[in-house]
């Protein structure tokens, strides 16, 4: 156990706060998989609706009653393939989709006052058990000789690349990082994609063939948009969100203040969770997925007090009710209606955060009430959102692509303002920043590219 005999004001940050066995439990699947019996029972609860509303609510349009029926008949390979036909990342989506606001929210069982079919867990069951020892279920169409550059190897880029390869094109993925997967590899909570799932899924996707991968190769640094346009028949941009929004408050640069996404990335890449230093008292600032994820993972690394502070109410939080509840059952305290005024420290290291209670004025605008309070902290995580970095798109000073709301502007097929360039996923304006939406964007763009290349 990590101990510390520090003075009152010095930070209590240490690794190895837990027994080794606890780490294994804390970072294993948060939701255990179904077994054959529970899967069959759950599958048989599904009514096999006609023109099923759950299917409409799935951003990738998976034939949900279709695959559930196959689980019910023990045709697990058929079920897995039915899922993958629409969503090649069906495995990670089964684990990280907020189903409570997607397919499961639309399930007709809700209208009956029953719990919805647990579509996510059934999808996972099919994906986990349907493909064992099977060859890759898709084959490539006759080669077209066309070459497509996919920039960014996250869910959007991977989905696009796989579909393009399937359609017979030659694909090259340019990925700035050392691993493919995007936020599946570096961002999504460890206990959602436990046991290296992201990497295993990437390997599965690559089995289709026809996809060359250039790791450690960044657009804007190692290659340029103009260069790619000259060399390839089409380009897909799946760049994600490269920057973290700043708090713009005093003390943000003190030691012990982190970007949540960076710290999560180090959790995700950790060989040994027991070596990760974590504070005893943690403050998380933000109201989305990322805030929940860092708060829970900090707790699971052994932090004693984790307080998540959000400036509005539970309703306004972009993390779903289900996620907020998950954080609370993990021992995270959520404080609503508060915003940080300044972060204070001793010897350049954070010791506390001064907050102000907030409220709405008569016009419904968020305002400070002037009432302050302090939360002591050894570590502070900023999780108030990511933003798109447009620099790689620039040719000298000018962005070559039109932007909208600070992200790339693209139409419903993913076409950008620049001919021959498509984009999708988080880097495009208009979505909810979900894995499953990025997969759909990549898939749709692949078909749009295919149509153009075949003209």
């Amino acid at each position: 156990m990590g101990t510390s005999n520090l003075t009152k004001d010095s930070p209590d940050i240490s690794a190895g706060r837990l027994d080794l066995s606890e780490y294994a439990i804390n970072f294993d699947d948060a939701v255990p998989p179904l077994n054959p019996q529970t899967a069959r029972v759950e599958a048989n609860r599904c009514y096999f609706c006609y023109n099923a509303p759950c299917m409409t609510a799935c951003p990738t349009g998976i034939d949900i009653p279709g695959f559930i029926k196959k689980i019910a008949t023990d045709n697990l390979t058929g079920a897995a393939v039915r899922i993958l036909e629409q969503n090649i990342l069906g495995g990670s989506c089964a684990r990280d989709c907020p189903t409570e606001i997607l397919c499961e929210q639309a399930c007709v069982r809700n209208a009956e006052g029953e719990s919805p079919i647990t579509i996510g867990s059934l999808q996972r069951y099919a994906m986990d058990n349907g493909l064992d020892g099977m060859p890759h279920p898709f084959t490539r169409a006759e080669t077209t000789g066309k070459r497509v550059a996919v920039v960014g190897g996250g869910p959007a880029g991977l989905a696009c690349a796989h579909r393009l390869a399937m359609l017979g094109h030659e694909v090259t993925i340019f990925e700035a990082r050392e691993k493919l997967g995007g936020l599946n590899e570096y961002g999504v909570a460890e206990y959602k994609l436990a046991n290296d799932f992201a990497a295993r899924e990437v390997a599965f996707i690559m089995e289709i063939g026809g996809i060359e991968v250039k790791l450690g190769t960044a657009l804007g640094r190692d290659v340029t948009l103009a260069g790619l346009r000259a060399e390839y028949d089409a380009i897909f941009l799946g760049l994600g969100l490269g920057a973290v929004k700043a708090l713009d408050c005093e003390g943000e640069t003190l030691e012990g203040v982190y970007n949540a996404v960076d710290y999560i990335a180090s959790i995700r890449q950790a060989e040994d969770f027991a070596l990760l230093p974590i504070g005893r008292r943690i403050v998380v600032i933000g109201g989305g997925n990322t805030a929940i994820d860092i708060a829970v993972q900090a707790k699971r690394l052994g932090a004693e007090d984790v307080t998540l502070v959000y400036r509005r109410d539970a309703e306004a939080m972009s993390a779903t009710d289900h996620e907020q509840e998950f954080a609370q059952t993990n021992g995270v305290t959520i404080k609503y209606w508060s915003r940080p005024l300044r972060i204070e420290g001793v010897n350049d290291h954070v010791t506390k955060v001064v907050f102000e209670h907030t409220g709405l004025d008569t016009n419904g605008k968020l305002v400070g009430t002037g009432r302050e309070f302090v939360i002591e902290a050894d570590m502070v995580f900023k999780a108030i959102g990511q933003s798109f970095v447009a620099d790689p798109l620039k040719d000298s000073e000018q962005s070559l692509l039109e932007l909208s709301q600070g992200r790339i502007k693209a139409d419903d097929e993913g076409r950008t303002s620049l001919g021959g360039v498509w984009a999708g996923g988080d880097c495009v304006a208009g979505g909810q920043d979900l894995t499953v939406e990025s997969v759909q964007a990549g898939k749709i763009a692949a078909h749009s590219i295919d149509r153009v290349l075949r003209k």
Binding site: N44, Y47, F48, C49, Y50, N51, P53, V108, A111, E112
Partner: protein
């Protein structure tokens, strides 16, 4: 509370729930436990001549439907595999200790007068309340010229029944096999032979499932399987049809009927009662859940009777029989139309697709302000009931009678019937 005691073919029991002749009644140990749990009577597992039979392993198959483990059940077991003496001794003791409960002994011996005569005397000596002739076992015994092999030939049924009446003072219940095209053949034969009652149904010839790896019927016995006897909830509809046929047959009029086949709840029992049964026998449900299921059967039946104002079983027994008729007498002018309760509807679309693909295209699938809506097209609906059955929400679709002002008209009177009877002038 209602009085559910019963006197069936002269045999008294405190309630009409009997355990059917089967493993639950195989020996004193089980039967005593059953009595303690409240069962009104038992039909002892079928006795035969020594040397006793031997059984295989395994013996049971189950039909699981959508996660429901035992929607149907089957077995390839034979009659008792214990020596006759042992059984008779236990029967005598149990009857002595439990005089208030019914104890009927099921019998199956070779089809010779001598065999029947000799066993009857020994059974009578135990003090048992009656005998049930097992003419129904569809496997293992019929190959030896017993069980269903006898039950399928009305002449044999009549002959054996007559012997039993001749050589015994005990009430004789003839247990009928459903593995015939018309149950009345054997039922009438039993009546002609002097039976005091009939009981039905025994199990139905069946193959439960094929093990697609072993490529053999289940249960697989060392690589091979065989047909067995089907029972459990799935056979109840078949059993009730056969019971009803006997109940409304003039030649069988008045014969007491002990209903068997898929009875699991008081409601099942009430339905068999409404079709004329005086006692109800249970096997699979007890094998599935244990003897204590009889508690709710007794309690539920009494409460239902109280709610309906039936003081005794005789008050409702057979009440549905006059309403079981032949198709040709149904009113062709009676019309119902499906009605969807929009407040209950969960918009699953099952009614629409069922009617659209396989019935009369009478349920419209609409989109109103982006919400799904299903609506009956009344002019097209033929009142077939399909939608009401596929709708997963109870009472969401109801079939409402429509007053079309037309008089009763059945097939025998219908203009489309070339053989119609002309109305008397």
């Amino acid at each position: 509370m209602a009085d559910i005691s019963s006197i069936f073919a002269g045999i008294k029991s405190p309630n009409p729930f009997w355990l059917a002749s089967a493993p639950p009644t195989d020996k004193a140990y089980n039967v005593v436990r059953a009595y303690k749990a409240g069962w009104g009577g038992v039909v002892w597992k079928t006795l035969g001549e020594d040397p006793h039979v031997v059984n295989v392993s395994s013996r049971y198959g189950a039909y699981s439907y959508k996660g429901n483990r035992v929607a149907g059940f089957n077995n390839i077991e034979l009659i008792t595999d214990r020596p006759l003496d042992v059984n008779l001794r236990e029967i005598k003791e149990v009857k002595r200790d439990w005089p208030g409960r019914a104890l009927v002994v099921s019998l199956m011996v070779p089809c010779t007068e001598e065999s029947w005569k000799s066993i009857l005397a020994r059974v009578e000596n135990t003090g048992a309340d009656g005998i049930e002739l097992n003419f129904g076992c569809p496997h293992g015994m019929s190959e030896r010229g017993m069980g269903a092999a006898v039950g399928q030939v009305p002449e044999y049924v009549e002959m054996v029944t007559r012997w039993c009446k001749q050589y015994s003072r005990m009430p004789v219940i003839v247990k009928l096999t459903p593995n015939v095209t018309n149950i009345l053949g054997s039922a009438r034969a039993a009546v002609r032979g002097g039976a005091d009652a009939v009981s039905l149904i025994n199990t139905i010839n069946s193959i439960m499932s094929i093990d697609l790896d072993a490529m053999a019927p289940t249960p697989v016995v060392d690589g091979k399987g065989t047909h067995g006897g089907y029972c459990g909830p799935a056979v109840k509809p078949i059993a009730m049809h056969m019971v009803a046929e006997i109940s409304r047959d003039p030649e069988c009029a008045g014969i007491p009927i002990s209903g068997i086949g898929g009875i699991e709840t008081w409601r099942d029992a009430a339905e068999f009662g409404a079709l004329g049964c005086g006692t109800m026998q249970v096997c699979t449900a007890a094998m599935h859940y244990g003897f204590h299921i009889v508690d709710d059967m007794i309690d539920g039946l009494k409460r239902w009777m109280d709610a309906k104002g039936y003081a005794t079983i005789e008050d409702f027994r057979g009440k549905a029989v006059p309403n079981v008729t032949d198709w040709q007498y149904l009113n062709l002018n009676f019309k119902t139309i499906a009605n969807i309760n929009q407040d209950l509807c969960i918009k699953c679309g099952l009614c629409h697709i069922a009617c659209e693909d396989t019935s009369h295209q009478s349920i419209a699938s609409l989109l109103e302000d982006g919400t799904r809506k299903y609506e009956v097209i009344e002019e097209e609906c033929v009142g077939c009931n399909l939608c009401a059955h596929v709708c997963p929400v109870e009472s969401c679709i109801t079939m409402n009678p429509v007053d079309n002002g037309l008089p009763y008209l059945n097939w025998t009177q219908h203009p489309n019937n070339p053989m119609r009877k002309q109305a008397a002038e």
